[in-house]
């Protein structure tokens, strides 16, 4: 009965213009799996009111990391937290990625990397990573990713000498004609929609989804997404779903 905790911030580092890495101390009893998320409380005041959901980017003993992009007022406040400040969080919540049996494909669109990094790290040297970003300077953790993946392909929307130019799903189509490995993906809705077109009915493809949340525990019914079986809650029935289940 204790998934709500105050944690000391180890660092809150700015990586690009708007992307930050937040590392907090975590109590020993907290256990997590790749694909799960936490709710971060931004202040003790009433505006912003609701906590914000963030994927667990990485979890090593005593430390949980979050990778986030500043979007609005909540994440802007989050970016002002300093080392040694305290933050209240709850979790981990949600369903995780079903563990891959062998090699697997990962597709990360931009900040979507936050959800799949932990999975690749947990199963090192087994992921074929397809990582799509807008421009070269948004490529994060290049060396680490090289280290933990089996193969890595990067696409950028803007011209860059070392990468494929275009959107990441095009790159996947080009490279994976014959690969029938399970796919794990996280990225913006447009990417998931494209992916749904690419994936064959027979292919296993898990995607992490997003919707605005209030409670994070399945109580408010605020975070629903449309599936073949009607509305399901992203926070407890997801955030990871089989793409074939979703009406995107």
């Amino acid at each position: 009965m204790n998934k709500l905790f105050r944690a000391k911030i180890i660092k809150n580092e700015q990586l690009t213009k708007d992307i930050y890495l937040l590392c907090v101390e975590s109590p020993d009893e907290i256990q997590s799996k790749p694909g799960q998320f936490c709710l971060l409380k931004l202040n003790q005041r009433l505006d912003p009111l609701l906590s914000r959901p963030f994927s667990i980017f990485d979890h090593v003993s005593g430390e949980i990391k979050f990778l986030y992009r500043v979007k609005g007022k909540g994440t802007r406040i989050l970016s002002t937290f300093k080392k040694d400040d305290y933050i209240t969080l709850s979790g981990p919540f949600g369903r995780w990625y079903p563990f891959p049996q062998g090699d697997f494909i990962v597709i990360a669109g931009g900040i979507g990397l936050a959800s799949v990094y932990y999975l690749m790290k947990r199963f090192p040297k087994r992921a074929y990573l397809f990582y799509g970003v807008r421009e070269e300077r948004e490529i994060l953790f290049y060396d680490e990713l090289r280290e933990i993946t089996k193969e890595m392909y990067i696409s950028t929307e803007m011209e860059c000498p070392y990468t494929y130019k275009g959107i990441v799903t095009e790159l996947v189509k080009e490279k994976c004609k014959n690969l029938s490995l399970p796919i794990y993906a996280c990225g913006p809705m447009v990417m998931l929609k494209e992916l749904k077109k690419v994936v064959k009915e027979s292919q296993v493809c898990y995607v992490a989804t997003e919707e605005r949340m209030a409670c994070g525990v399945g109580a408010c019914l605020g975070c629903v997404i449309e599936t073949k079986e009607g509305f399901k809650r992203v926070c407890t029935d997801g955030p990871v779903f089989d793409i074939r289940e979703l009406l995107l």
């Binding site: 906590s51 109580a219 009607g230």
Partner: protein, 304 residues
């Protein structure tokens, strides 16, 4: 000396006046990882209808300054699934179980109230007459005095359980509506439900929600709720349960002082999943500091 926090509503005793508000605490299970439900005065579950209901398209929530707007649309699992899948868990706890219910028409209100009456572990019924979608005549029962009168009378006739009527703030005179409930035999009234509200994306010129409007809740509505409770308390003898924007013991105490017999905690559960128990503890501390032995001495002690 530990002060007494016990209050009575109808023939029901509550170990303390802190209940959860419908739709913000699921079926209890969801928050049992944070809160020992035995500590609560009562758990009011998500609004229930005869048959399962899909609710509105997403997005369903949007945050506003010190509040949130929701357009859930009363999604729920329906009577049978509640009885078979949710009640067995809830009945293990020593707390009052209150089922919030509604229907698409008056017959459905009557039928579900009748069915709920037969469930031993349900202690009270909370009749939601403030459905946000006002397309049919009966959806207006929270707004039109004569429709409300008929509805409460007919529902009262089919249940002996403690009957609470939950009122909408969207009327000129909420005390008048409460008086009607009292006249027709309701044991208590609870107020307020969410306040109809809107939010627009100026680029797309569309609603930020999946529907044009939703219901505003949270600290932003507290002063409005407090005033509504105060007006109602003066008009009726039956207990009034205060709801709206309560996030702290101090908020809760304000409602008790103006005369609420109990209070419900809604949106605050989302902000702090342990809000209910922290508020109970805060109320207890206040009574100790003020040397008040029984919470009933505080209730209605407002000085004009």
């Amino acid at each position: 000396m530990i002060p007494s926090l016990e209050v009575k509503i109808g023939n029901l005793t509550f170990k303390n006046p802190v209940l959860t508000a419908s739709g913000t605490f699921g079926y209890g299970l969801e928050y049992s990882q944070f809160v020992d439900l035995n500590l609560l005065g009562g758990v009011v579950v998500k609004g229930l209808s005869l048959r399962p209901k899909q609710g509105n398209p997403p997005p369903r929530i949007y945050e506003t300054a010190c509040g949130m707007i929701n357009s859930i649309g009363l999604q729920n699992i329906g009577f049978e699934a509640f009885k078979n899948e949710k009640l067995p868990f809830l009945r293990k706890y020593k707390t009052n179980i209150i089922v919030n219910f509604f229907g698409e028409n008056l017959d459905e209100y009557i039928e579900i109230a009748y069915l709920l009456d037969s469930l031993e572990d349900v202690h009270a019924l909370e009749m939601n007459v403030s459905c946000p979608n006002k397309t049919t005549e009966w959806r207006k029962m929270g707004l039109e005095p004569e429709l409300l009168r008929k509805a409460v009378k007919e529902v009262r006739a089919v249940t002996k359980k403690t009957l609470i009527v939950k009122l909408s703030p969207q009327v000129t005179d909420i005390a008048l509506m409460a008086k009607i409930c009292e006249d027709e035999g309701a044991d208590a009234v609870s107020l307020i439900n969410t306040i109809p509200a809107m939010v627009i994306d100026i680029k797309t010129r569309k609603s930020m929600l999946g529907t044009p409007t939703g219901g505003l809740s949270g600290p932003a509505i507290k002063p409005i709720a407090l005033r509504a409770v105060w007006e109602t308390v003066q008009a009726v003898k039956i207990p009034v349960i205060g709801i709206g924007g309560i996030v702290s013991a101090e908020d809760a105490l304000q409602f008790l002082i103006v005369g609420a017999k109990a209070i419900q905690i809604g949106t605050a559960n989302f902000i702090n999943p342990r809000a209910t128990v922290e508020i109970i503890e805060g109320i207890k501390q206040f009574l100790i500091e003020e040397n008040i032995k029984d919470i009933n001495e505080l209730i209605g002690s407002f000085i004009q």
